[in-house]
Amino acid sequence: MTFLPAIRYRFMKDIGAPAAMRFAKIGKKRSARPPDPLFAPPLAATRRLKELIGRHYFLSRYAPGAMPVAWVTSGAPVEILRPFGYYTLYPENHSALCGAQKVGGRLCAHAEEHGYSPDLCSYARIDLGHALTGNTPVGRLPRPDLLFASNNICQTVLYWYKILAARYDIPLILFDTPYRFGDAEDGPDLEYMVGQMEAIILQLEGISGRSFDREAFSRTIDLAKETSLLWGRVLATMKTRPAPMTIFDAFAHMLPIVSLRGLESARGYYRLLLEELEERAERGIGAIREERKRLMWDNIAIWPRMREHANLFASHGMAFVTATYTNAWAETTPLLDPGRPLESLAKAYSCVILNHHLEHRLNLMERLIREYRVDGLVIHSARSCKPYSVGQYDIKRLLLERLSIPSVVIEADIADERAYAEEQTRTRLEAFFEALENA
């Protein structure tokens, strides 16, 4: 009987999930604690964030049977998928969570035991490894019925998702975004991408047995655009001195724009967060108590080390106020035009930083440095992420030449905690701190 899973899902959504969140004490106000010497009190919105995340993964377990499940890459145009009613999960986000909980290495080891090279992207290794044991902070992801990917962020997701397609014997839909090597007019690239979208819509209609709801599509784009603009305003609050939030916070608060984009819950969340941040900005409450220097972070986070780094930088009075990574879900939003849905989606998704030549990235970084009044740059050279990392050494040099901005390169990884050299990193950071103080 197929409506039993649907009933169970509804029950879980309306009653089960909220109960489970209460039971897990997520959302419960903590009893009064002595003020932290380094940080301002945590944002109230964070409780809601944890609820959203918890609920997202909890409910996903009840989706199979009630609705089809899709695994989606962080840069895929999910707006096209939403009208077809899939429960969407983002393995990259799941891997980041595993990394943050410091279990990435263990999960990678499982994948390596199955022959996957330790030189492969750790998000992929964690995902491929987790399926073999299911032992992750949020449990095994529910089996997908569909894979929806775009290579705008990297080609690696294509290699990774091909394996998933083979393993689960399910369709892989790829939205291919040609690399923007030059600044020439869109021409063939745009036509190609729009052509793909039209074909993808037909394919989804075939797979799901539902016809494409253009009204719902339009509404989703509006919702996603608004959410993305809100996210952009959230990030912009860090232009204030002192910044009411840091990039380390933003790494956590970015989950909804990545994984819940196009859903009401994400928009609601950022309205809440923005309100709180604007209030703090107005009252001059800085995220770190003593903001002496403002920094930019380049590349994805070093998830297993976020807390340690947050403490380390705060103890030196240094606040990360901007990052190329968090900015990626706000930078191309202005391109979205509900009047030309497919075309504008194609533009917005193909113009992201990682799909663009390096001069574009450098210009973006220069602009952020100026707007956010950045004093120094920390460049995370991530083993796992070649599109981000190849070119960083030159970016470092060029920013120094153009803006006289000091920077430091940390060689580490996004989610595999084993790829972190404590002593070497600490030495580099200390030299960087000295350089900044003396600047």
Partner: protein, 259 residues
């Protein structure tokens, strides 16, 4: 009566085994390879002959194996140590399905089929962790004779944790533990846990089949054997002389293929 010989020229030690046509060991030797592989092979061969009381001409077939196998001019054939350890271990324990060989400079896991055939294998030869070298370095750091490591680790009540996967970084960790007066036996147990972890990861790549037999010099370390057995969740058999299994297998190949 016919006789066959197997010579295993490793980077650290060289072994020779002489068999009669019933595959009984009539002579064997173990010595340090030193600087000259060919010389070491000759000396090992001579020593095994002496033990057997045979002249060189009595040997009808000889096979060389090991790192220095091309340095044995008097061997008619060269076969890799993978094939030799597989055949040798299987001959000693015919229900062997998996061979784990931890040598001085590399380690291997071999899936063995009927007749001692190699079905699959994996080797760790890129880094010292997971090989005898790792234990050498640590024993030196702790100022403990290599041969005492096993016994001492079995006396440990607890176990120190060594988290680095790299030998060089692990060495620093050991130095810190010693400086903090951590009990020596517990450090040694931690070192053994490290090497076993590496080896078990390799085993999972090939998969454990049937009974497990361990060969190579590190098999003399009862501490490592015990932990390996614990982590694999099954018994690990060690031949009476694990260091000569390669040469034994080579000699068996020589017998099989004849002159």
């Amino acid at each position: 009566m016919h006789y066959a010989a197997g010579i295993d020229v490793g980077s650290l030690s060289t072994e020779a085994v002489i068999l009669d046509s019933e595959a009984r060991i009539v002579g064997e030797s173990i010595l340090e390879t030193g600087f000259h592989s060919t010389r070491a092979a000759e000396k090992a061969f001579e020593a095994a002959l002496a033990q057997a009381g045979l002249p060189a001409e009595a040997i009808e077939a000889a096979v060389a194996t090991g790192y220095g196998r091309i340095s044995v001019p008097f061997a008619a054939k060269r076969i890799t140590e993978i094939s030799c350890h597989a055949l040798g271990a299987w001959r000693l324990f015919p229900d062997t399905g998996t061979v784990i060989d931890i040598g001085g400079q590399d380690s291997k896991v071999i899936q063995v089929g009927t007749g001692g055939r190699v079905l699959d294998f994996t080797m760790n030869d890129k880094c010292a962790a997971g090989t005898g070298r790792f234990l050498d370095v640590m024993a030196a750091k702790l100022e403990v004779p290599l041969g005492d490591l096993g016994r001492l680790s079995l006396e440990a009540r607890g176990e120190a944790t060594i988290s680095s996967v790299c030998t060089v970084f692990a060495e620093s960790e050991v130095v810190s533990l010693v400086a903090r007066n951590h009990p020596r036996e517990e450090i040694i147990r931690g070192i053994h846990r490290s090497i076993v972890h590496r080896v078990v990861s390799m085993v999972k790549v090939v998969g454990v089949q049937g009974q497990v037999t361990m060969t190579g010099g590190v098999a003399l370390n009862q501490g490592v054997v015990a932990l390996l057995s614990e982590e694999l969740g099954r018994p690990v058999r060690v031949p009476a002389e694990p260091r000569t299994v390669g040469a034994f297998g080579a000699a068996l190949h020589a017998l099989k293929n004849g002159a």
